[in-house]
Assembly symmetry: C3
Homo-oligomer: 260 residues x 3
């Protein structure tokens, strides 16, 4: 009897079905390391990925039928800043939901400050590990590289605070994922340690959450669905492929056929 | 009895053999999302990929034994423009054949204008989906992200017009691929829908067409060979691997052994 | 009886065990084509990869517990120069060992000059093919794209000269890999031609050598361990997967379980 996790899975299955039917166009301004796996994960769930660099093009696309936006600061540069700002503003103007993934915020000053600025443009959903969410909530925790040095449960109060302050859903990822809109907190179990042994799975999760935002009823439901889809797919892929090279391949295959 | 497709396959097999024997050096100035699959697809067919960023280096390499060039505007930026211009001019000066892949032209103004400028530098071959070819021919069709909203057959007259106007071969890709030099039109059947579920297969096709240009007798033959090589490989890979993660792996494996 | 290669393998196994235990944080400022495979290869051996673009962030991370640094000039640009300079200086200041991978040095003037400047910042280890090492030692050999036109044995005297002049270990890679600290020269046999048919294996080897520097007793031992780990893994992967797509996947799987 695990009815809560069953309810979560049914909700996530509805969101995934909707992604497959409506093929939302997701613009990802993300770090250069993870662009291929991000686009491939969006394609695997049935979404339509777009990536570009130019600030004018970003604004133009967001006014021309784009369904959701991801901003990921993993390889932030002075050259990339204008496109990110332009995209966040255009998303707000056109009512396009958007995700902020504050990679390594708290560890490096430049991106931490820039993410604080982006928070002011009101992301619909914020996805991070515990260290990143603590840093975004102003509760300093540096992390180590892109890894968290805190457990995800430790960041739940900070996630709630962040959600309430900026009117966003927050998804804290870790061994257990937690989604909150500031009031409700949902825990999603699942996943597999191999997901941390392939570069970009966490970052692609941010893009998946953008696709879910385009198809879910609420940002909280999108956050929960993201965690559930990727958790189930990760566990199934690890059962097939116990090493990281073949695991990455299996993860895309599983996402293509998940819950069908 | 399908002698026309058999003739096409025999011509393509000669081009592929020549790529494997001569290992043409192909410089790709392409979008950041598809750099890995582009290089890996070139390596899989036996070509030697080179990528770089700097305008002076691009010109230097094109004067130092480079066999063909690809320009793909998928993540065009103000910073990338000078290298693309420099490369196109150096290719022309040194008689190196080059390919223009006008990704999402017609949808976004900045790249559409830049591609129009590049057309004036006389690409040897232009590869695009129907929406992109219609846009390049001045017959507005916006597409949706990187996807065409028109069928490839609909763009054949525009492809012929474009080919005649700029003295280039044009390859329109879709469910059926069409190659033309302005007069002759060749239809190439094959391929598989999974090719649209892996990021960069279409863009890597542009790089493959550059390798074919280095080894074919005419630009039209290169365009036909490109469509035939990738179409046969895609169909064979999909028969082995019906999901996108393993399909991408199988596609490279199949290209390595195609028609051997 | 091949006791020398056995000794080499035992030393390499100790280095690999130490990487798995200590999980060194390796900052790679590398070319955009190979970022995913570089991060994935580091993850496969148990290291923690970080990549970023900004000069201030690079310096900040090198002062905050970073274990080793790689600079790879494969897609060098004017925009990337400041981060590379900043990182090399910060590495020196904080005693963090670092690797220079002078991709295509000797072939293209801009990067050749920049690599000469970086040599003056005293890399701990230099990894290149024969053409690149000859060029760095001032013995002009242009190579062809990213491929060497000389055999690795031909570059051993130049490697020794380079090692002595800059106080670095030098790893010359090819059919046989040679590691030297200027005095001792170690030959490492192994590997497989498929390693040259997947983009970025050589570049990821530079990142692997940075991880080894963080865990070996001497730079020479790190260079030898790098060649031995990747050579053994490449041969084992090729035995499983004789085509390049599946070979790339198998290589990561093998690295994850090598010598366990």
């Amino acid at each position: 009897m695990n009815t809560e996790q069953d309810d979560i899975r049914q909700g996530a299955a509805r969101v995934l079905s909707s992604i497959r039917e409506t093929r939302p166009l997701v613009l990802s301004l993300t770090n250069s390391v993870v662009q291929p796996i991000t686009a491939n994960m969006l394609l695997a769930v049935g979404a339509a990925p777009v990536m570009l660099c130019d600030a004018e093009e970003a604004a133009e696309l967001l006014g021309a039928g784009c369904s959701a936006l991801l901003l990921n600061v993993g390889t932030l540069s002075r050259a990339q800043e204008p496109a990110m700002r332009s995209a966040a503003r255009a998303a707000r103007e056109h009512g396009v939901p958007w995700v902020l993934d504050p990679v390594a915020a708290g560890l490096l000053r430049y991106r931490t400050d820039f993410c604080a600025e982006l928070l002011g443009l009101h992301p619909t959903l914020i996805r991070g590990n515990a260290s990143e969410i603590l840093a975004m909530a102003g509760e300093g925790n540096a992390g180590r590289g892109t890894d968290s040095t805190a457990g995800s449960a430790d960041a739940v109060p900070a996630a709630q605070k962040l959600a309430r302050k900026f009117g966003a859903a927050v998804l804290v990822t870790g061994e257990v994922d937690y989604a909150t809109d500031g009031e409700t907190v949902e825990a999603v179990h699942g996943g597999h340690p191999l997901m941390t042994r392939v570069t970009g799975v966490g970052c692609a999760m941010g893009a998946l959450s953008a696709a879910c935002l385009a198809c879910a009823e609420t940002p909280l439901q999108a956050a929960v669905a993201t965690a559930c889809i990727l958790g189930d797919a990760g566990a199934a892929a690890a059962a097939r492929a116990p090493h990281p090279g073949s695991f990455a391949v299996a993860l895309l295959d599983v996402l293509d056929s998940l819950w069908k």
